[in-house]
Structures are given as C-alpha cells and as structure tokens.
Amino acid sequence: MNNIKNRAAIVGISMTKFSKDSERTELYLTCQCIKAALDDAGLTPDDVDGLVKQTDDASDEHAVTSSMGMGNLTYFGESRWGAAPSAMAMRAAMGVATGVANYIVVYRSVNGASKRRMTPSMRTSGQMSTSDLLQWTFHAPFGHMSNAGRVAMIVRRYMHEFGINNDQFGWVPTVCREHGARNANSMFYQKPIAFEDYLKSKMIVEPLRRMDFYEEADAAAALVVTTPERAKDLKQRPVYVLGAAQHMALETEELTSYYRPSISGLPEMGKVGEKIFAMAGVTPKDIKCVQLDDSYGPFVPMQLEELGFCNQGEGVDFCNRGDRIRLGGELPLNTSGGSLGEGHIHGMNHVIEAVRQIRGTSTAQVKDAELVLVASGAGGPASGLILGGKS
C-alpha cells in the first residue's frame, strides 16, 4: 500500500451554530456536535473506536468518552498548529486505512469569542515550549506580540517583492462575506460587505486591516471517518479522501518563518499541493472549488499561487474584483464564508464545507462539485486534502 487514496471516507459531519457566546462549555459543544455527526452518519457512540483532536482543544478524549459513554478506543491522536484540520482528517484516514480502527471521530470545539474556556491543554504547566520560547524571547520584547503583526511582516515582504498595494487584499474578505451572507449558520448571515467597506476597515497592523483577520467565534465541528467499504452501509453519500498530506519544511515557524532565505511564500503549502495532487492523480484544473485557510486574508492569494492555481505573484490579480473566486466563477473559494465570513473554528469549517459541496448541500452550492480541495495551516506547518464524490 503506497498511500491512502480511496481507503477512507468521510461519512458524517456536524457543526454547531457560530456565535459570539455559546453560553456553554466547550465540552458541551463537543458532545452535542459529535452526537449530531454520528446521527448524520447513522452511527452511535458505541461504534466509535478512534478519536482525533486538536492538541489545544479543551475536550480531551477522557472527557468525551466518559461524557458520551463511548466504549473502548484503540486509536487517538492529536495535531497542533493551524495545519490541524486537514491533518486530523488525514490521521483519521490513516487509522482506518491501516486497519487500527473502524470509525474515527475528528472534533474541534472553541469558545474563541466568549473565551468561556474550560480546560487549557495539558501542556500549560508553566514551562515554555520551544515555540513559545522563540516568540517570547526574540519577538515579544520588541512589541511584536500579535498574530496580526506576525503575519503582516510576511505580507509586507510579499507586497514588496511583487509590487502589491494592500488595498488589493480586500477582495478575499469581500467574497468570503458574500458567501457567509448566504449561510444561516454563519455569524454574518445576511450581512455582506462591499469592497469599499474593506477600505474603511480599521488599520490594525500596517499593512493589514481588521477585515484581513478571522472572526472569533464560539462553535464546534465534528466529522466521522471510516473505510469506503463500511461507508456503503451508512446513511450519507460517502466523501472519499483522494489526497491527504502534511508538510513542515526547514525553518518553519508558526506565522513567523522569518529566518529562511525567502519569506514571501508559503513553501509548506506548495509541498502539500504537490503531494495531494500527485496522490489524487488530478491537477488544479480538475478542482471545482477550494476551501483555503483564510484566517489571514492575504494568505489566500499566496495559497492560490503555492497550490498551482496561478503563477507566483499573480494570486492577488486572480482575486481582483472577486469574479473568479465567487460562486459562479472558475474557482469559488470558501463557499461557507470561511474564517473571514462564517466564523473561526481554526479551519474545521473548511473541511465540513468541502464535504457539503460534494454532497450537494452547501448554501453556496457549486455545480457538480465532485472534487474539492481543502488547505489548512497557511503560514506555518501545513496540511491539505482533496476530497471527491467518486472513489
């Protein structure tokens, strides 16, 4: 067996509503959401024998299994960083493909807007990880402390090298908000913006504005992965994992990969693209729509370049006026609204939306969306998926 192509399928999905205050614990949202994803698939907690979580997620495996009365598990793991959503789906796919588990649930829950946190990750015991150490030692003393600032440093260099004006970044948030406005689950349902609203948006860290950044939300998402064989007996049309990959390159840092020869690209994402296209045996032209990591809007054109949808330095032109990336265009992106236009659940909504597109149940449905690409973790360790309706 050389890869996991066609050896795993997503058979259940669920997402809570996005809100500014869930008034619930993250564990509550997690349990609610996993139950709904299992219902969607036609399964019960008794069937589950694997879990994959985001390392920093408040709902640990014990909290979930003890709350839901899940039986015995043989496979559970964690993924960190922005790369987590696609990587978690990949790890679940690997688990079923190698026969170590049958039904693996991937979940994520955040009270990102209300900050109603129940549990920090197990690692927060005072000592610093090497990543925290880097940020606190060499960046924070100079006031370089926010993710917005960390990203802006890379974007400035990108603008410099390709002669880009920062106003041009406005088309991605505009289109994401258009898509989010169609989605009743979104925080911006029926609240689209015009490009001019972006220009009026407050400058946070020059060259980036408030609307370049994700919208914090309270929400949870879950998906269920099993083998294509078992998927046939379940309720929904299976969504097959045709390509899945992670990548970390030399000198990758989370949003601060400043110490390598060029910082104006996302080389990890480029490698992820090469790997998933090769595994799926398709090219960018075959992809019907994409769900890209839009936690930071300016990373979207950079991802389009790295993934081969346009040439280097042309990503911003590709997004200009939004026609090619909105519903009806040649490559609709982030059709649920994404992190900019639906809500930020650390990229999990992107995977869920890709499944909806293939099922044909998106609120911004792309016609015959049989092949959908998901990218996670722009500006750090990266991962990606190509999902398909046919095995």
């Binding site: 890869n3 014990h62 039986g71 015995n72 549990t119 197990m122 390159a249 110490y259």
Partner: protein
Amino acid sequence: MYDQYLARRYRTTVRPRVEDYKIKDNVAIVGIGQTEFSKNSGRSECQMACEAIKAAVEDAGLNIEDIDGLVKYAMDYTDEMHIVSALGIPDLNYFGECGWGGGASCATILHAATAIASGAANYVVCYRAMNERSGARYGRAPGVEQIMIAPNDHYGYLMPFGLATPPSWVAMFATRYMYEFGATVEQLGWVSVVCREYACMNPKAMFYGRPITLQDYMESRMIVEPLRLYDCCLDTDGAVAVILTSAERAKALKQRPAYILGATQGIATQGEMMTSYYRPMISILPESWYAGQELWRVTGLSPKDVDVAQLYDAFTPLIPMQLEEYGFCGVGEGVAFCEGGDRIRLGGEIPCNTSGGHLSEAYIHGMNLIAEAVRQIRGTSTAQVEDAEISLVTGGLGVPTSAVLLRR
C-alpha cells in the same frame, strides 16, 4: 450501580478485520538513541532531543536527511519544528502528537507505524526529552503560588481535598487493590527490589551500583500511605529517540530490525486523568486489559508467547496490575506472582523491566522502556533474555494507555 455499564465495560466494539491490520510485520524499529540519564543535564531539552535523535540515526545507519516524520508527546516542550530547524531536517511529511503523558509512549510507535504503513512517511522518529528532575517535577503539586482556580473542571473534585499528586492518585487504587485481593506491602516491595537488581546490571541506569533489599524497601520513607519512596519512579533529565521504517527498508540498515507485531492504544469507559475512581471497580486497569485484548487479537499470540516485558512502572502496584490485565496471571494474583521476585527475574516466567525500568533506570515517560524492548530483540540488553523473540512494552497507566508487541 451503573447496571448497563457493567455489561458494557468489557464490551469490545466491532473491530476491523485482522487481515486489514496493515501494521503487523510491515514496520520495524531500526534505530535507538539516548542521552545519559542524570539529575541535572546542564542543557536544554531541545538539545537533548537532538542528541538522542542524532544517536538513533547513527545507530540505524541513516542520515539526518532521511528523516521525514516526527511523532512527539503532546506534553513534550520541544516542538517538531525546532527539531527540524535545529538538526537541519529538510522536509517532514508526517508529524503529530500523542497525549496523556506516559500513556503516549507506545502510542507514538502506533502512529509512526500507521504513517509508514500508509505511505505518509518513510523514516519516522519518536522522541521524548525531559529535564524532569532539574526542571518542573511532576511529583509535586502544581504551582499553587499563582493559580487560585483549578486549571480545569476535573481538578476541582480533587485538589481542594489535597489529592494533588500522581503518587496519591495511584495510592488510592493501591489501597483498594490490597483490600480486595488481600495483598500486602511486602509483596509490592519485591517489584522494587527486582527492578533495582536489573538496574545494577545496567551501567547507564541512575541506580547502577546501588542494590536494595526488601528490608531497605520497607524502611524507605512513606510518601503517601500506602506508597513508599521505593514504590515511586525516578525523576530524570534525559532523552530517548527511536526510528521506525518499513520492514523492507529495514533490511538494508545496520541493526537487526525489531519488527512490530502489533501496536495499539487503549481507552475504556469512565476514564479520568489518573483518577478513574467512578468506575465499578478501581482495582483493575480496563484500558490495559483492552489494549492487551487488541494485541492478542491482531497478532494471534497469547501471553505465553511473550519472552520479555517492559511494563510501565511509574509506581510498583502498576506492575502486578498489568501482569493481570495482559493475562500473565489471573485477576488479583499479580502481587503473589511478583512475591520473591523469581518469576519476573531473568530466567523467570516473564522477566520484567530488564533495564531497571522507571523505578531504577530512568524516567523518560516510557521511551526508555521501548529502547530496552528493542535491545532485547537485538540481543544487546545488559540483562539479556536468552533468545528473546517476542518483546512486550506498555505505556502509562491510569490514563489512556498504549502497548506494542515486537518480534525478532
């Protein structure tokens, strides 16, 4: 109580078919490396991790550039990206984390093995580096100076009552275990004595050259009744790394491969972080039972086939309890099995923790146990079991656990 739970406790979910289990015989551990074990390393955890990985790479006969996967403990403070940047690893195709402290030890092997068996990566390193002795020690209650509110909901039911440390969490199980099975502390002491004997054969062990008698054990300081100092594992500064690759690639490398027969994790119902007191029985380790069942199921072997075992020994009572759960003896018979020590010594039915284990070699969160399991397969242990063919390793207890079965 919890009527339906009782029925469900040992319920096995429908499992994947054995013929679909792609890990068996397809993956091998081909390199092991470690730093010295000390009370004060005098350097960063990141440096020790890099040293251990470099040593493992050399042991396997590989180059750093060959590594394309890293699996870490979620608890490890050295992030993959800094291993990559420090050692100059050009590309990683697979990286991930396993949670639950020592419960992650064999889990890292399982996840690395799935990565290799599914083609995600070719050479995957699992590592653990910790300045546990000179840095923040787990055996102490958390930093109460700053924290006023429990960091999570779970601690709220324990900490205000002073139930604050891992030894006490396990002591609670031990009290009940001794009550239910009529075990005595002297019987537990033999585990400690035998582990120390093994450490005295291992020049790299922290307790090398310092044997103890049962009398010494009985006279050691009481920590949390019923557990004594010699019931508790060491605090260690050190790092251990292992490298996995496919069985096919393994053939071309320097060392005799330790093939993976089976690897699994285990969670059972009603688990809590080291304090699963709300289950029908607390004198057993259902996670370990289930992990054992899965290993025997996928390999078609039984405990009788195992030549040597490295059982996670953060505290002595966990060894007899695991001997029961993995089927080396019946429920409640573990301490009697260990009494006198002969059955777990070299030449006994199942030699256990032949490097000295966490009690006497070093405490690297189970990674040192994996390295010893591999040495037994290679025939290079300082307490070598003659012709060891099948070697069992288990991961941390009281938390979601893990286990690996290796073969020559």
